[in-house]
């Protein structure tokens, strides 16, 4: 029984010599959700993924995947999860077909079963044209599609994406996400994502922010933004008058070309301001705080500088 939880991590510790890579980490991932792990390099994201997927052994704690403890039944767990690594780990000189065939064999998929599965993958990810070409001759986006095909060749329940779009151009990034969304909708896959991109984390169902191997914050993006991020009002008219009034009331202000921006504690604060000074609100917009603000507030680090 997994109570709808596909991953449960409790009190996880992992050290490399003196360095505590993961330090008392506890979280869970529910079936079917898009779960995001957020953190700068060295925050412990990849170490946690490597423990979940059986590449690394934990020092302490309990890790359950699909209802089984990772140390107790690794082979069973491995057949139920797929992973897309940050950098492609497929064989560069082999064709996409050879790569998928050799990896499918690791899951006991041979012969006619493989051909059938390959046909499904080709339809799903549009692989037909690139199947016979060696990997080193493919573009970044094409390679990523093969990486995803490899990760789901055995029809896993859980797909782990370790910074899958890092280093990709914006168009390819969108292509990758379109594929992942399609898989979620059509196959009901649970997706465990680590990312540097806040806009990707903002689309997640649940987010855990890691800092120095510890959990710094967790929640839905909406809750995290409400709790940690400020809201902003941008005035595009009557900016001088607004600046005078808001400065007197102690709001932090920022003047940019064409608008005045005031930082507010929350959406309620914006409503109160509108009611107090309706004459200021002719041309304006209210902006919710984003995940960048949340991350900066929680960790004190700007993820864009990482």
């Amino acid at each position: 029984m997994d109570d709808g939880k596909i991953i449960e991590v409790e009190g996880l510790y992992k050290s490399f010599g003196e360095v505590k890579a993961v330090d008392d980490l506890t979280f869970c991932v529910k079936r079917g959700e898009l779960f995001a792990f957020l953190g700068v390099n060295g925050a412990g994201k990849s170490t946690t993924i490597n423990i979940i997927s059986g590449i690394l052994k934990k020092d302490l704690g309990r890790v359950t995947v699909c209802g089984s403890e990772v140390d107790a039944n690794p082979a069973q767990i491995k057949s139920r999860l797929g992973i897309v690594f940050q950098n492609s780990v497929l064989d560069r000189r082999l064709s996409a077909y050879d790569n998928l065939k050799s990896r499918a064999a690791m899951y006991g998929i041979f012969g006619e079963d493989f051909n059938k599965r390959l046909k499904e993958l080709c339809e799903m990810l549009e692989l037909e044209e690139i199947l016979k070409r060696p990997l080193f001759k493919l573009s970044g986006g094409q390679k990523r599609r093969i990486d995803i095909a490899r990760a789901i060749v055995h029809g896993p329940e859980l797909l782990i994406l370790d910074e899958p779009t890092t280093g990709l151009d914006p168009k390819t990034r969108l292509t990758v996400w379109a594929v992942v969304e399609k898989l979620r909708k059509e196959k009901g896959l649970t997706v465990f994502l680590t990312t540097h991109y806040m806009e990707e984390a903002a689309n997640a169902d649940y987010v855990v922010i890691l800092d120095g191997g510890k959990k710094a914050a967790e929640g839905t993006p909406h809750l995290l933004k409400n709790e940690y991020a400020s809201d902003f009002i941008r005035f595009y008219s009557r900016t001088d008058e607004a600046e005078e009034i808001l400065r007197a009331e102690g709001f932090p202000l920022k003047r940019e070309r064409g608008f005045l921006e005031a930082e507010l504690k929350g959406t309620r604060s914006a409503t109160e301001l509108i009611l107090r000074h309706p004459q200021l609100f002719e041309d304006y917009e209210i902006l919710k705080g984003n995940m960048d603000n949340v991350f900066l507030k929680v960790t004190g680090k700007d993820i864009k500088e990482d």
């Binding site: 082979a75 560069r92 064999a105």
Partner: protein, 303 residues
């Protein structure tokens, strides 16, 4: 059964990875190519002069130069094959090291395939690749000998193929043990360079052991790789020596040729019989196999 099919799939993948990497394939052939160039440019004439000086010492004049030419070629071929059994194995095992440096090993680790199966697959694939390259080199060598002078009995040809199976096993196990500790391209390059340049000397393949000082000769002869050279030397040279005997070279002359060109091998004046050379190389294979198994077991426990 499924694990066996997984093993076969991994072996097939490893072999493909090697042959699709043209650079790796060419690097593996560097040692035989260097020896071939050395042979064509000057070694052939040096060997023939040395053979002729033995013949003169025993008052023998070969009626047929094809036997002398053939013996020079056979001596070189035994050198090439014995050295390549190790150097090619070291190069072709790069597939295993590349998997570590390029993190492909992680892709195998997240698959439901045991670490033992992965390690055994590397070993079998390396054996197959090395054997294919060795058989190709042997085939080219045999064609050359057929042209310049073929005096190798059929039984010895079969014995040579048997020797190759054993020597490839030795080379594959040796490279497996050494390279299981390597996880960088720099490390792989260093080991490949060292083995390619040194192994031929320390197994007595590049020049006859009689050319070394007595102390060095005894040490080199005691090394297992030298026994590998010894068994090939005997099977390649026996037919030619018999042909010289039939043409009138007396038994002292035949012994001088065998002693001078490692058809017979000695440690401290005691001749090592052929069976002892097989025992040395087989025993070494057994030790290397134990070391390989221990390395695989430790690696799988560590993670």
């Amino acid at each position: 059964m499924t694990e066996f099919k997984k093993l076969c799939a991994l072996v097939s993948r490893n072999v493909k990875c090697y042959f699709k990497d043209k650079f790796l394939f060419l690097v593996s052939l560097i040692t035989p190519m260097i020896l071939l160039v050395l042979f064509v440019t000057f070694l052939r004439s040096v060997y023939i002069q040395s053979f002729n000086s033995v013949f003169s010492a025993f008052g023998f004049t070969p009626a047929n130069n094809r036997v002398t030419e053939g013996l020079a070629g056979a001596w070189l071929l035994s050198s090439v094959l014995s050295v390549c059994s190790v150097t090619v194995a070291v190069c072709s095992n790069a597939v295993m090291v590349n998997d570590k440096t390029e993190n492909t090993i992680n892709d195998l680790r997240v698959s439901p395939v045991s670490g033992v199966t992965v390690s055994v697959a590397y070993f079998i694939a390396n054996y197959i690749v090395t054997l294919i390259v060795m058989l190709a080199v042997a085939a080219i060598g045999f064609i050359y000998l057929a042209i310049v002078g073929w005096y190798i009995p059929a039984a010895n040809v079969f014995a040579v193929f048997g020797d190759l199976l054993l020597l490839v096993l030795f080379g594959t196990l040796l490279s497996g043990v050494i390279e299981s500790f390597i996880s960088t391209q720099g490390g792989l390059s260093a080991v490949s360079t060292l083995v390619s340049s040194l192994y031929g000397f320390i197994c007595g393949a590049y020049m006859p052991l009689s050319q070394f000082a007595a102390g060095v000769r005894n040490v080199i002869t005691a090394l297992p790789g030298t026994s590998g050279v010894g068994i090939l030397r005997w099977h390649f040279m026996e037919g030619y020596i018999a042909e010289f005997g039939a043409a009138g070279l007396n038994e002292y002359g035949q012994k001088a040729l065998l002693d001078g060109f490692d058809g017979n091998m000695y440690i401290g004046g005691t001749q090592i019989p052929l069976w002892a050379m097989y025992a040395i190389i087989s025993g070494t294979c057994a030790l290397l196999l134990a070391a390989y198994i221990a390395t695989v077991a430790i690696k799988n426990r560590k993670k």
